[in-house]
Amino acid sequence: MKVLRRMNASSGQPLVQLSGVTLNLASLAGQVNVLRGVDLEIAAGETLGVVGPSGSGKSSLLMVMGGLERASSGSVRVAGHDLSGLSEDGLARLRRDHVGIVFQSFQLIPTMTALENVAVPLELAGIADALDRAETELRAVGLGHRLDHYPGQMSGGEQQRVALARAVIARPRLLLADEPTGNLDGATGAEITELMFDLHARHGATLVLITHDPALAARCGRVVRLADGKVVA
């Protein structure tokens, strides 16, 4: 309830605001300029598709938005917070309270059951009935029969559904998805896509979706194209 109220209170301004964001990473071959001045605003409740060729900086952009990677220059504001002013732990709290992330390779904790994986964000927020709510969430994504399974015991599609349930359980205002269907076959990918847009519709979170799939991008309210570290369209 508290989360919902905060979301309503700030609906007037963009949820994500990037201006002049660059990202330089050191590599063996020298410095690589991954992002070269990205300006982007994403309104609350919007669905945004990010497309572009491999190596164009899509994933890095998502990492910057999620506070997993610090921009080399420029400013990043998410849910009213300037990310450059936050410590590691501050960034972690921001994610806990406002951001859900879905990865191409699921990133479940292998030593935890599906139920526990989904409960983690709520447990981190100190919510008492985390496991009960995780169970509800898993049933909502059709995994009521897999509660006590470990990630290694589930199919890719099932794992991604667990990851989706985990990403939305804390009702984040921003849901970041990095090629969520990239590791799945067509039919399973389609199921996950349906589920993702369904969750977006139900919970009203802002959805940022990175994808290679033009059909998937087309379902988004807006599409931006990235090339060579810049927004080109």
Binding site: S59, S60, M63, G66, L68, E69, E88, D89, A92, R93, L94, R95, R96, D97, I101, F103, Q104, S105, Q107, L108, I109, P110, T111, M112, E116, A119, V120, P121, E123, L124, A125, G126, A128, D129, A130, L131, D132, Y150, P151, G152, Q153, M154, R166
Partner: protein
């Protein structure tokens, strides 16, 4: 095979990473075993090569009271040159100063073997000859220090005075006598007579040595002697056992070190299993691909087997190199304090033994995961990559595994000098492995139970992560508990045994031990002795007993040499023992079986035997025992068994005879005196002034000597502790490292989900803290039990629980576990999230 080789070679290109622990664990264990074996061989070679010098000839005939008869000497001289030495304890005096000395009288032919070295170097004749009416002597430098005299000064012993002409720097035949109560004073044979100290029954030991003439046969000498003098009281000692006491100490020490090496190997074995499993877990995809391409299980097993085998070989070779060099370094360090000049060198047998241990350990611990890996199906490719190895190896591999494990146990037991102890060790080690394994399982199950809680303390995120790590598949709990647990149990055991012995010799024994043992009291001096002591120390407690020395010759009618006697009571058959006679049951004595004889008993001679000794000799009430006292054979019937508490250091005798058995024997009395410390010097002076033939042994000084011996053994004990600890640390490090990738991933995902670093810290500290605390408690418990068993049942010493030591162990355990956790977590927490996520 060709394909297997190629596979092994290609995988080896990946480097030793992941196998460093395996190589290190094997090297450590093999080094410990090779080093102890080589050291033992070096000392045995020294004992064998120096045997003639240690013995003073090819054979020594020893007896108490009297030298060999002229007939006996004549027989011996037919086979070579003969030399006779005698030694006794006596009080040396200079002015007011007194010092107990080991007085040794030698003849002109001494030493028949080896060299006596003195400073200044003088020939024997000049050293000891009578010059200007004054006999000469050579002395241990400690005696000069104690009495405050120098070369050329005089020292009084009994009625005789001796001039110190040189200090002894090396006495070839000193090693043979394990324990000495005072410094050496070497004089001519007639010098001992001149002291006037030799009275009927005085405790003087005679040794006649024979150096064989070329062509003479020792067996012939023995046979001739036995035929000509069947009842002679002397005992025979030849070069095959020149210094049995030292021999035994060395064997025990080597056995102990070998067991420690085995423990290190066992702990290391867990590290080997972990390393192999972790490595193969990472190769599952390769194996599945090979399977998909048509490689049969056997080929894959052979390939990885070759790879692991060659790395194991590397570890073994490293261990052998270290083990072969270590004795040299040890001898360099300990050189001065060693009783023998160890012949350090390359001894193939111990090295081969260490190799066998290494090979069998590597096989026993690596085969299971290897066999599992060979059975990975090609379909594993389509499953999740993190599914660890599981399943049961094939029946064939299980058989191979069982054979190698049994071989390891058999080698440990059959290769040991004390097979019974080695068997107990193997059983205990297996039991410990099982117990810790069970405990790890218990911790996992409890963690699983706790993690079902949906609310409460255990549902907090830190606790949930900790619990997850404790009970999930691939959890490192088992290897952590085993590595920490086994190593620490050994450490606690060693520390508690050492602590208890140090306590006993440092505090408990001195507190209740008598101040003095007085020996060589003549029967008619007994009353005077009492009066002398009372005059200077009215509160002193004096206890006296008659004593005569004799040798056990027959047990239940069998010659003592051929009787079956347990190793721990062999001491009773080496040379003469003190015998006493008593009409009434002594006040300390507690009967374990049988009855005490009537005070006026006059029937066939009876004996009361120490219960421990009786057990070792298989004696029961009613059995017979024969002793030889001064050539007279006494046939005794066991009347009762007594519990003797040797550690009280009160006057105790293994054998107490009925008074009629020893009627007419040349008794002396020995006495113990408990006197207040402030009066000890006065007691000693009063007795030695009035009764110069009586020698005083200061018990506390003897205890200090024993304590010093224990402290010397400390070096071995500390090394042993270090080796086990190092093995445990290696395995612990390996266990933490094996889980490291997983931990980094987990940390990153949790950070993505919003966990703070503090929360991650808490989770890991909780996880490692639980493992450390539980393992530490168990190790303290098991270690205490083992130390108790060894102290009480093997060493027959007292046992006191030392809570400080145990707590320290517990603390070490928790700290070690936490440090291992910290080291892992520190790195994991510093890793930024993005690169790890990008790796996927």
């Amino acid at each position: 095979m060709g394909m297997a080789w190629r596979l092994a070679r290609r995988e080896l290109r990946g480097g030793l990473k992941g196998f460093r622990i395996l190589v290190a664990c094997l090297a450590l264990g093999v080094a410990a075993i090779a080093a102890s074996g080589s050291l033992k061989a070096a000392f045995h070679r020294a004992l064998a090569e120096d045997a003639r010098a240690i013995l003073g000839g090819d054979v020594e005939l020893r007896q108490s009271y009297e030298p060999l008869t002229a007939d006996q000497l004549a027989l011996l001289s037919r086979y070579g040159s003969v030399s006779t030495v005698s030694d006794m304890r006596a009080m040396a005096r200079v002015g007011e100063k007194r010092r107990l000395v080991e007085l040794k009288g030698v003849d002109a032919t001494y030493p028949l073997a080896g060299n006596l070295r003195t400073q200044p170097p003088l020939p024997m004749a000049q050293l000891l000859e009578r010059r200007d009416g004054m006999a000469g002597a050579a002395a241990d430098p400690h005696l000069l220090d104690a009495l405050g005299i120098g070369l050329g000064d005089r020292v009084q012993v009994g009625n005789a005075a001796f001039q110190i002409r040189a200090v002894i720097t090396a006495e070839p035949d000193r090693v043979a006598n394990a324990l000495s109560f005072g410094p050496r004073l070497l004089v001519a044979q007639d010098g001992i007579a001149a002291t006037g100290l030799v009275m009927p029954g005085s405790l003087i030991r005679w040794g006649t040595r024979l150096a064989l003439a070329p062509g003479a046969d020792l067996a012939q000498v023995r046979a001739d002697l036995a035929q000509a003098f069947p009842d002679a009281p002397f005992s025979w000692r030849d070069t095959s056992e020149a210094a049995p006491g030292l021999d035994r100490i060395l064997d025990n020490l080597a056995a102990f070190l070998t067991l420690v090496g085995l423990t290190a190997l066992l702990v290391g074995g867990i590290g080997i299993a972990n390393a192999v499993k972790a490595y193969l877990d990472g190769k599952l995809a390769n194996i599945a691909i090979l399977k998909a391409l048509g490689a049969p299980s056997r080929q894959i097993g052979a390939g990885y087997g070759l790879l692991i085998g060659s790395l194991a070989l590397l570890g073994i070779i490293l261990g052998l190199a270290v083990g072969a060099v270590a004795p040299w370094a040890l001898v360099q360090i300990a050189g001065e304090s060693l009783p023998l000049a160890a012949r350090v060198g390359l001894y193939p047998l111990p090295l081969m033994q260490a190799t066998a241990f290494g090979v069998l350990t590597a096989a026993t611990f690596a085969l299971w995961p290897l066999a599992q890996a060979a059975r990975v199906p090609a379909t594993a490719l389509f499953r999740s990559r993190i599914e660890p190895l599981s399943g049961r190896p094939s029946a064939f591999m299980l058989t191979v595994l069982a054979v190698s494990a049994l071989g390891l146990a058999a080698l440990a037991v059959l290769g040991a000098d004390r097979r019974d102890l080695a068997a107990v060790f193997v059983a205990a080690a297996l039991a410990l492995l099982g117990l810790f394994r069970g405990m790890a399982w218990g911790v996992s199950r409890l963690a699983a139970l706790a993690s079902r809680q949906r609310r409460g303390v255990w549902a907090r995120p830190a606790a949930r992560v900790a619990l997850a790590n404790l009970h999930r598949p691939g959890s490192s709990v088992v290897s952590m508990v085993l590595s920490l647990g086994l190593g620490l149990t050994v450490l606690v055991t060693i520390a508690l045994i050492e602590g208890n012995l140090a306590r006993q010799f440092g505090q408990t024994l001195p507190a209740r031990a008598p101040s003095f043992y007085f020996i060589d009291l003549q029967p008619d001096q007994a009353d005077e002795f009492d009066a002398l002591v009372r005059a200077v120390s009215p509160s002193a407690e004096v206890e006296k007993a008659p004593m005569v020395r004799g040798r056990i010759t027959h047990i239940k009618g069998l010659a003592a040499e051929s009787a079956e006697v347990a190793p721990e009571v062999q001491w009773a058959l080496r040379g003469d023992r003190g015998l006493t006679a008593a009409a009434k049951q002594p006040p300390h004595a507690v009967l374990a079986a049988g009855q005490w004889w009537a005070a006026d008993y006059a029937g066939s001679p009876l004996v009361s035997v120490d219960a421990g000794l009786a057990k070792g000799m298989g004696l029961q009430v009613g059995d017979t025992l024969a002793v030889n006292v001064l050539g007279r054979e006494l046939n005794l019937t066991v009347a009762n068994l007594r519990q003797v508490e040797w550690a009280s250091l009160n006057m105790n005798f293994a054998l107490i005879l009925s008074p009629n058995a020893l009627a007419g024997a040349p008794f002396i009395h020995i006495a113990t005196v408990h006197a207040p410390e402030a009066q000890e010097n006065a007691v000693e002076r009063a007795v030695s002034d009035a009764l110069p033939n009586v020698s005083a042994i200061r018990v506390k000084e003897a205890l200090i000597q024993v304590r010093a011996m224990i402290d010397n053994a400390d070096l071995a004990v500390r090394l042993a502790g270090l080796v086990t600890l190092a093995a445990g640390a290696l395995v612990l490090g390996g266990a933490v490292m094996a889980g490291h990738r997983r931990r980094v991933r987990e940390a990153v995902i949790l950070k993505v989900l919003g966990a703070s670093r503090a929360e991650l810290w808490r989770a890991w500290m909780l996880e490692f803290g639980i493992v450390g605390a539980v393992t530490g408690l168990a190790a303290a418990g098991f270690g205490s039990a083992a130390a108790w068993a060894i102290l009480v049942h093997v060493m027959r010493a007292d046992w006191t629980f030392l809570p400080g030591l145990t707590l320290a162990t517990l603390a070490i355990c928790i700290i070690a576990a936490l440090m291992a956790g910290f080291a892992g977590a520190f790195v994991a927490l510093r890793r930024p999230a993005a690169p790890v996520l990008r790796e996927e």
